[in-house]
């Protein structure tokens, strides 16, 4: 192949990388953010220094989310850990007209119906918060310690399926990370491949 053709080929192969959100690394400070919850209240991450914070990405129509909600697994986690002082934010980054997009009223009704107990549900239809954390799937879990450091980034547990039976025999990464961190130990599994449907950002 002659030089011109090769350099044209090279030029077409080397693309500009898309603008990247601030990279989120376990062990580094978690990016601060402000977001609005379903009651119109503004929440800011830095307000919660001194507490553990869990971010749970959510899409009620996704079969993986349904697995954890219809079984009561997610609600049980929320209840257990908010009871121990953890701040739990459910985040919805679905863009308008995409799967999982909901109005505040609809989401509040869902939370009541599902008997969920997050500290708040953050609505992120522009995907700003999702892209800030590079949230990939629903569910996708991020855990921030009282010093503001990200200590977990990944899946809710180690069984990446939609089967309800897998919940009982799965190792739950969220509970493991919070237990270890609260006991002053290092988090054994600090990252895992998050599993679920892709977050429905705007196209």
């Amino acid at each position: 192949m002659d030089r011109l053709a090769w350099s044209l080929l090279l030029a077409s192969g080397v693309l500009l990388a898309p603008p990247r959100a601030q990279a989120v690394h376990v062990g580094s400070p978690a990016p601060d953010f402000t977001a609005t919850d379903t009651y119109g209240k503004t929440e800011q991450l830095s307000e919660y220094k001194g507490k553990f914070v869990v971010l749970e990405w959510h899409n009620r129509e996704c079969p993986y989310t349904k697995k954890h909600y219809s079984s009561g697994n997610m609600q049980a986690l929320q209840k257990e850990w908010t009871g121990k002082g953890v701040v739990w934010f459910t985040v919805i980054s679905s863009a308008p007209r995409q799967q999982g997009y909901v109005t505040a009223e609809a989401e509040n009704a869902y939370v009541k119906q599902m008997k969920a107990s997050p500290t708040a549900v953050l609505l992120d239809p522009t995907g700003k918060l999702g892209h800030l954390y590079s949230a990939k799937t629903t569910p996708d879990i991020f855990i921030i310690n009282p010093q503001g450091i990200l200590i977990y980034d990944g899946a809710i547990d180690d069984k990446p399926t939609t089967d309800l039976e897998d919940i009982a025999r799965a190792k739950n990464y969220v509970s493991a990370a919070l237990e270890e961190a609260m006991a002053g130990k290092e988090v054994a599994v600090a990252t895992s491949r998050p599993y679920g449907c892709s977050v429905k950002y705007a196209r």
Partner: protein, 354 residues
């Protein structure tokens, strides 16, 4: 199929395969009979109705057509019974299959258990395959699904003494999804599995293989689906076995299975601050290359792979994943250099000198 052609009253046509995904009872395994001069217009009517997703009138109209065919099928059966009295012929007409199986239709896929050869031989390996035909725009996933998704899983129910190996994954495609990148298959996919027959296989009865397959099929949304598949094959004790009519699909798929890298190639991987540099020296200039990682959380799937020039090969720069916490000791993946040129990469990762 029949000793003499079906004259006069009724003529069969096969319903379009997989084109009516929202009306799963309308499947290709059903042969619709109607008056010959109506066959063409009926076919066109069904095609039009199929594209009117979910309208109640469409559903009703198709149900009416199916009912007419059922009545005509019954009339045909009566006619055949009088003329031939061969239950075997009736069975093949009704099920549309010769080997006791028919494809299973789910909302967005048609799945079938198929075989490369038309029989089993004691002590010999046979290639079976999970054949997926996907609705346009929908995809299933590779062994590493990428940023989201879940690969198909299979649970076998095999006759005594038989052993099934693992799925052989052909090279996938990159599938972009909401600024994330997945690896999977669109259109049609064959997941081949080797099955070993015991040398001690006795008897002359056909052997039945059963597989429960679960998969996730996605377009903008994802749907978990499953199918219980079965395939019966006769036993042939001596002589070379004949190929089944699926041979061509097996051959095509085999060309996309990753091969071992030839001995005279040189493949190295270097770790730089933010990325891996993969050098593949094949002996001649390679104009294209795509890398598919076998393990998750190592490279950033959504980042474009930077192609670089090597006099005798190609260089790929792969951005590291944000989730990669510890240095990587080996880089494992599949690289596609062109049609039918798919290779398995498994190399140690060295620190870069630069």
């Amino acid at each position: 199929m029949l000793a003499r052609p079906l004259q006069g009253r009724l003529s069969p046509f096969l319903l379009p395969r997989g084109r009516c995904p929202r009306l799963p009872h309308v499947s290709a395994s059903r042969i619709v009979y109607c008056l010959p001069h109506r066959a063409e217009s009926t076919h066109r009517k069904i095609m039009t109705l199929c594209t009117n997703h979910n309208t109640r009138s469409a559903t009703r109209a198709i149900a009416d057509l199916v009912e007419v065919s059922r009545r005509n099928n019954a009339a045909l059966k009566r006619m055949l019974r009088r003329a031939y009295a061969t239950p075997l012929v009736l069975l093949s007409l009704a099920s549309g299959a010769r080997d006791g199986t028919s494809p299973v239709s789910s909302l967005h896929a048609k799945t079938e258990l198929i075989a490369e050869k038309d029989s089993i031989q004691p002590g010999q390996n046979s290639w079976l395959g999970l054949h997926f035909e996907l609705e346009s725009g929908w995809h299933i996933y590779w062994i590493n699904p990428g940023d989201s998704g879940e690969p198909p899983r299979v649970q076998w129910l095999l006759p005594t003494g038989f052993r099934a190996g693992s799925i052989q994954w052909p090279a996938p495609q990159r599938i972009e999804d909401h600024s994330l990148v997945d690896y999977g298959y669109e259109g049609e996919a064959l997941l081949m599995v080797p099955v070993q027959a015991p040398g001690s296989l006795a008897g002359t009865e056909p052997v039945k293989f059963e597989a429960t397959v679960k998969w996730l099929v996605c377009r903008e949304i994802c749907i978990p689906e499953r199918a219980d598949l079965a395939l019966s094959l006769p036993v042939q004790r001596k002589g070379a076995r004949k190929q089944s009519h699926w041979q061509e699909l097996f051959t095509r798929t085999r060309a996309r299975l990753p091969k071992q890298v030839p001995n005279d190639w040189r493949v190295t991987a270097l770790s730089e601050k933010d990325r891996f540099v993969l050098n593949i020296e094949t002996g001649s200039l390679e104009p294209q290359a795509t890398f598919f990682p076998l393990e998750p959380n190592q490279i950033e799937n959504a980042s474009p792979q930077e192609l670089g020039r090597l006099a005798r090969g190609v260089r790929l720069k792969l951005r590291k994943s944000d989730q990669l916490l510890r240095p990587l000791s080996r880089l494992k993946g599949v690289v596609e250099l062109g049609p039918g040129r798919v290779y398995l990469i498994d190399v140690p990762v060295l620190a870069s000198n630069s």
